[in-house]
Every structure is written in C-alpha cells, then in structure tokens.
Symmetry: C2
Subunit: 444 residues, 2 copies
C-alpha cells in the first residue's frame, strides 16, 4: 500500500543533509510577531491603568460576551461545587482518581527548609516558603481541558499556596451547562479559590497587576495562545512566570517491537491537539517505520479530528530512521522534546543517554495519554526545545527560598577579615567597615 | 545635633498616610523605557543574525575598545591561572576561603533524582540533570566585583554544569594589570571554562543565540544595568533566565539595642553600591532612630564613596518608626527586601513572620557585608519586591527536571480507563484510543 501512503516526512539520519532537514522541521525560532507584541503591550497598559473596565471591554470585544460587571465573569465556589455534584458519577470519579494520583506524585516534590550549625555557633540555612497567591491560566480554544485545571492547581495546593486564582477564556462561561461544567467541576476537585471566565492577554495583565476585583498574584502558570505567551513574556519580572510555551510535541523512539497501530495512535494523540503540534517517530528499524507509516495511512480516516491530525502530521510530523541507539539518542537530545516515549524493550538502558526532555514515558505500556490525564506527573511541560533549561511545572514552582545567615560573635570575628580584605579590593569601604566593626576591639 | 542632621526620610507607620508615602519611596513600577527596549531589540537582532561581527562592532562602539577579532576579547584559562598566581597571597587566600565557604553552602542545595514503585509494578519519578552550558553575567560599571564571579560560577559548578561561560564588560579587559586581574583570578578559583570581556545587551544576545566564537548557553544568570536587564527579559524563553534585577536594597529591623554606628555603616554598605540603591531602617524605638540618624550624620563625611552614599540615602533611604513587632513585620513583607537584617535580640521569634526576603541576616553579628562576600549563601538575590516569587540564585537554577513514568502492563490497564473517560470528555479520541489499546483485549 506504499503508493497511497499518507504524506508524512520520512527522514534518514545517515544522510548528509539530515541535520539541516531536521532543523527546518523543528523550526525553533520563536515567532517574534511585532504586531502581536504591540497589541499585547497596549492591552497590558490598559488593564494596568484602568483595571476591571479594561478587562470587561476586552472580554466584550474578543470573547464577544455581553458583560458589564466583573461579577458576571466570576464563578463562585458554590457554582464549582454544584457543577461537580451535577456530573455523572463515573466522570466525577475519574476526575477524583486523577486528582488523587496527581496529588500523591507531587507530594514527593515538596521541599523543606533546612539549616545547619557551624562549630563556631553560626547557623546557615534556607527557608522554603509557599507563594502567597498564584494565578493559573487554563487554556480554552480548540479543546476543553479540565485536566489542565488539575495539573496547574494541585501542585500549587500541595506547595501550600494561600490563594489560587484560575482564569479560563470566557466562551466556557457562556456554556455553563456544557464544556464549562467540567472545568468548574475540576476547579472544585482541585481546590481553586476563585475562578474567572476571562482569557487572553487581558487575563494575564489582570493577574500580574491586579484590578479592583482580581488580586495581584505572585506567579502565573499554564500555557495559552500566542497572545497569552507574549503577555507572559512582557510581564515577566513584575510577576513570576513558569515558562514560555509553544505548540505541544511528542517524540517516540521505538525498537520496532511495539504494535505499529499503538505507535500510530500515540502520534495521533499528540497531533489531534492542534495543527501546529508535532509528532516524531525515531526507529533503528526501517521496516518498522514502513509498518507505522501503513498504520497511519489506515487509521487516519477513522479519526474524529482527522482534519487537525492530517495537517499536523503532514506539515510537522516525521518518521526518522537512525542507524543505531547512540544516533537515536543524539537526535532526541537535539529535539529536546516536551514528551518522549521510549517504546523499547529496556528503557532503563536508554535513560542515562537522555539529557533533555520534559517527561519521559518508558516502555511499551506508557503512552503519553496516560501522563496527560492521570499517571501523576504534571502535563504542563517545556516545549520547543526549552527542556534544555525549563522543567515540568511542579510544586517547586509554587515555593520560593530565602537564605538564612546567623553569625555568632565568634563566627563574625572569623569571617569579617575575609570580607574586609575582599571589600577593600572592590573599593567598598563601607562594606569593609561594616564587617570589621563586628570584630572585638576593631571599632574605635 | 538634630538641626544639622543628614537629610534622610523619617517615616512613621502610625501615621494615616504611611502606606502611600512608603509606596512612593519604594517606587516599584519597573521602568518600561521604550527607547531602551527598542535599542536592545536591535542589538539582539544584529548579534543573532551577524554573530561575532556585531559583537565586535558594539564592543568598539559602547566600550570604546579597539578590537577586530574575538580572540582579543577572550581570556584564556592560562591567563586566569596566571592572574591568580600573581595575586598577593593574602588576597588569593581570601578568594579561596570565600570560594570554599560558598561551595560548602551550595552543596546542600543539590537535588537528586528520585523514583518510587507502585504495587502494580509501575515506576514514577523525577530525573534531575545539570544544564549543559551556563552563561554568567558579571556586572562591571561603578565597582569591580570578583565576588560576583564566585557567587555565579560556584553554584553552577556544584550543580555539575558541563561548560561555564562568563562575560564581564570590556573595560576590565583593558586594565589587565588592575581591576581585571582580580576578576580573572576569581574566574580561575571558581572554575570558569571560558571568559569574554564583553558586556551589555550584546553579551546577553551572544550567550542566548551563540555566535561563531561563543556557544549558545542554556541559561543566563547574574545582574547588570538596564540594557542587560531589558535584554534578559527579551531573550527569556529562548534561553533560561534567573531573574530580572533592579537596584540593590537592604532593610534592617532593629530593636534599638545594636550600636547605632554599626547600623549606620550597614546602611552605608548598601548605599555605596549605586545612587539607586535603597537602605531602610525600621525600629520600634523612636530614640534609637534618632541615634542612628546622628551616626549617619557623623560618619558620612568619613566615607570614601560619600557622593554615592549621600545621594542614595537622601533620595531612597528611610528611617521608619513602627509601633510594634507585628507592624514592623508587616512593613518588611510589604517591602519584600533583597537583604533583610534582623538586628534584634531573638531573631528566631521574628523569622516565622517573614514571608518575603531574598536573604535574611539574623542577629547583631550578621551584617549584610558578610553575606556579600563569604558567609556562603549566594549574593545574587531578588530585588524590587520580587522576593515575593524569585529565590536567591542557587544550584537549583542550574539543574532541571524530567518527569519519569513507567507503567507496567497491569498499571496501564488500571490507569487507561480513567484516561479514556477523561479523554472522551475532552473530545480527544486519539488520546482515548492510545490509552485504551494498552488494556488487554481492547484493540480489535
């Protein structure tokens, strides 16, 4: 059936132009759209200076919602609880089951304060404290993700954040009996304190600077569209930001022994998010790539989101032949994928070679979809190669540290001469005197 | 002597307008200078597209350095070692002593990978890995900070970063026999791999995108001037960024029992960095504030950096009366200072009330200056109230995490129905099938 195969890129890492072809496929340069940046800067300025009025105005304009006060955009705790109570029991149970697993995993990430005492009686340490208030962006758009409410809010709750404010684009607010219901129910399960049906750059600005109704938060987490991403970048520093996210992506490495249909469906599960999503398969077995290619071709027409999947697979997908394991690992590290499936017999032998990946799904029985919903780890992950430096969203994102230094009189006398020496060499006399005066007898 | 007292602001927290006066003094709004942002965007674009040529061009223009190739801007490992060997022994010893203490403190911050097994044989965990390459910005400008080389590089080295590239503005390169020598020696002590005498937005762009000579790094740390700060913000997301820094600041809380001269000198030690630096004293004892005011007045003329200190103290300093401990703590948390001295009898009784501070210096024998050089904790700290969400620079900044999920066949069969249920509710059929097909007998 090779002649009618679905048109997905086939790459060969043993070819001299592979590097170049791969880089073109990855297309990593962030799109610096000057128009988007200007629009976003203006929205931020308006919300910062005019508060609620500006939020209402943009929500009317962009979300085409007929609102004239913020109360219309807030979902109360009792509305969240009511949405949960109204869910079919099986679905409520699935949400609770997922929440429970996410909570258990994240409890292991909690960091504690520590300190130690030196022999001179001085004490050094690190004080670990939860953020006061976190703002969670729950994406709307092409799909409806109650799982994202759990994945953002539970790590914050585990960290001990005092107040969690979530925002989700308003279209869900209109459809309180439909898709929104599940978001509201998930907010109840996750313990969100306040929920606003607003989105876009105006929601980010409201969280970053606060308005009459929405309290300023200390950190904003969660992915969104290009306007949300641009806004997060522009407010970075005024407020904490988890990461800068691009389209979602999956790389699978397979040794050729997993059911090709499973792998095709795993690739589709990534592709169905968005036309810009990226699904890549790497294998050291050329014939296996043919088999997956055939599965893709055969399964495609059965997919409900075929249009999105086909566009994503055709424009951004690839099946890559790698001559050996070392080569396959090098490609993985170059991609630094958000999701990495090691669909191989002995994934433990591959793991030490992986340097950059958001989440690693090991073995044939760990499709990304299990991680997306309920395995436990967070599904908010670094994209576009940023796994080189960003980490999955976690409890650590909602904790911060203060250094603790407590010198004893003896400890100060021991350290002060070192500080004095270095301070005079940096020509900072006040530093030198401030240290030296703690030495007995040094101050006149 | 009150009539000739040095003109520093005296605030009273029991006055009705205090909140407003304090906010004005803090002046927290980041200066969004559109001209600076545009200039920086252009520099980044030029360096990104033209590489070394653009770096050389800006270095000639801004640092007035006559250079025509990058080799002239690189300090080799042997030059660093030679600078260290040529230092007077006492100074070399002070650097090594400081480095040793910084290393010991930071070793406690190292995070390790972890995993746990569920009863169904599934394994969950977190893989913690050092960054491949870090870029450290060492500020130049009004003072010369070899201590900053130690404070940036040692946490990176402890984390296990493979390659550390440091940059420091070129004027030091010209003065290889003077101030630069100490920077080069500190780089040798700290284990910096490559050192370039470049600075400004062009150095940030070179580290973020790489040039023919400078390899692209994964994260950039360390504070700089407004151009450096604007550049760090603009490249955030392309590369990791530690924090967005403003002028340095110190808040002291004193119970009125510390030598007023010590406290005045501590305030001066912050003020001498920069005219924009901020030194604030809070006390529950009005007479003590008078005593410190007198010390400030008397000691000021003796200071080598009197001009800078006087400008900083007059424009941005303050002596604040707070009626009681709770009130003093509330003011501290509102300031969220970079450095906080608890110069009180029982600092442990104050600590639980502190929610926001970069570093906390406890007791009368712990002036900030000891922490600046050699106590152990990092002196790269969150400023301008960003201690609400940023942490001190640390080993954790140079480590990143990947989530690990390894489902057993039994574990997948247990999780897949939950994922399937949630996926269908999010209308993501491929997610549902990808999960469900791992359940025995579910795939036709």
């Amino acid at each position: 059936m090779s002649e009618q195969r679905f048109p997905v890129s086939r790459l060969d890492a043993s070819q001299p132009d592979f590097e170049q072809v791969l880089n073109k496929l990855l297309d990593r340069r962030m799109i610096e759209d000057a128009d988007v940046a200007r629009t976003v800067a203006d929205i931020i300025y308006q919300v910062r200076t005019r508060g609620d009025d500006a939020v209402l105005e943009y929500t009317r304009r962009f979300d085409r919602l007929n609102v004239d006060n913020m109360a219309q955009l807030e979902v109360s705790r009792s509305q969240m609880e009511a949405a949960l109570a109204a869910l079919e029991p099986e679905l409520a149970e699935a949400l609770r089951h997922a929440a429970d697993r996410i909570r258990r995993y994240h409890e292991r990430q909690l960091q504690s304060s520590w300190q130690y005492e030196e022999d001179d009686g001085s004490v050094y340490g690190q004080h670990v404290i939860a953020l006061d208030r976190a703002g969670l962006y729950v994406p709307g758009g092409k799909a409806n993700y109650p799982s994202s409410v759990l994945m953002n809010a539970i790590p914050a709750r585990v960290a001990g954040v005092k107040e969690i404010i979530a925002v989700v684009p308003t279209p869900y607010g209109e459809d309180a009996g439909g898709a929104g219901r599940l978001i509201f129910a998930a907010a109840a399960v996750a313990g969100v304190d306040r929920l606003f049906t607003i989105g876009g750059a105006q929601a980010i600005a409201a969280l970053a600077f606060g308005t009459q109704t929405i309290a300023r938060v200390d950190k904003i987490t969660g992915p969104g569209n290009v306007f949300v991403t641009a806004a997060k970048k522009q407010v970075f520093g005024e407020v904490g930001i988890d990461m800068i996210a691009g389209p979602s992506e999956l790389t699978i490495v397979c040794d050729g022994k997993t059911d090709p249909d499973w792998i095709a469906m795993d690739l589709f599960s990534q592709a169905e998010h968005d036309e810009q999503a990226q699904s890549i398969l790497i294998s050291t077995d050329r014939e296996y790539l043919d088999a997956v290619h055939d599965s893709i071709t055969r399964l495609m027409p059965q997919m409900e989101r075929q249009a999105i999947i086909a566009t994503s697979m055709q424009n951004r997908g690839a099946l890559i032949y790698a001559p050996d394991q070392q080569n396959a690992l090098a490609i993985c590290n170059q991609i630094a994928p958000e999701h990495l499936e090691l669909s191989v017999e002995k994934p433990d032998e591959w793991l030490p070679g992986i340097r950059h990946a958001g989440a690693i799904f090991m073995g044939r029985y760990t499709p990304e979809a299990l991680g997306d919903y309920c395995a436990g780890p967070c599904h908010v992950l670094p994209t576009s190669g940023t796994a080189r430096f960003f980490s999955p969203l976690g409890v650590y994102d909602f904790q911060k540290r203060s250094s603790i230094i407590r010198c004893s009189e003896q400890g100060a006398a021991r350290l002060a001469p070192v500080a004095e020496k270095l301070a005079y060499n940096e020509k900072l006399q006040a530093h030198a005197l401030s240290a030296a005066w703690r030495i007995p007898g040094r101050k006149a």
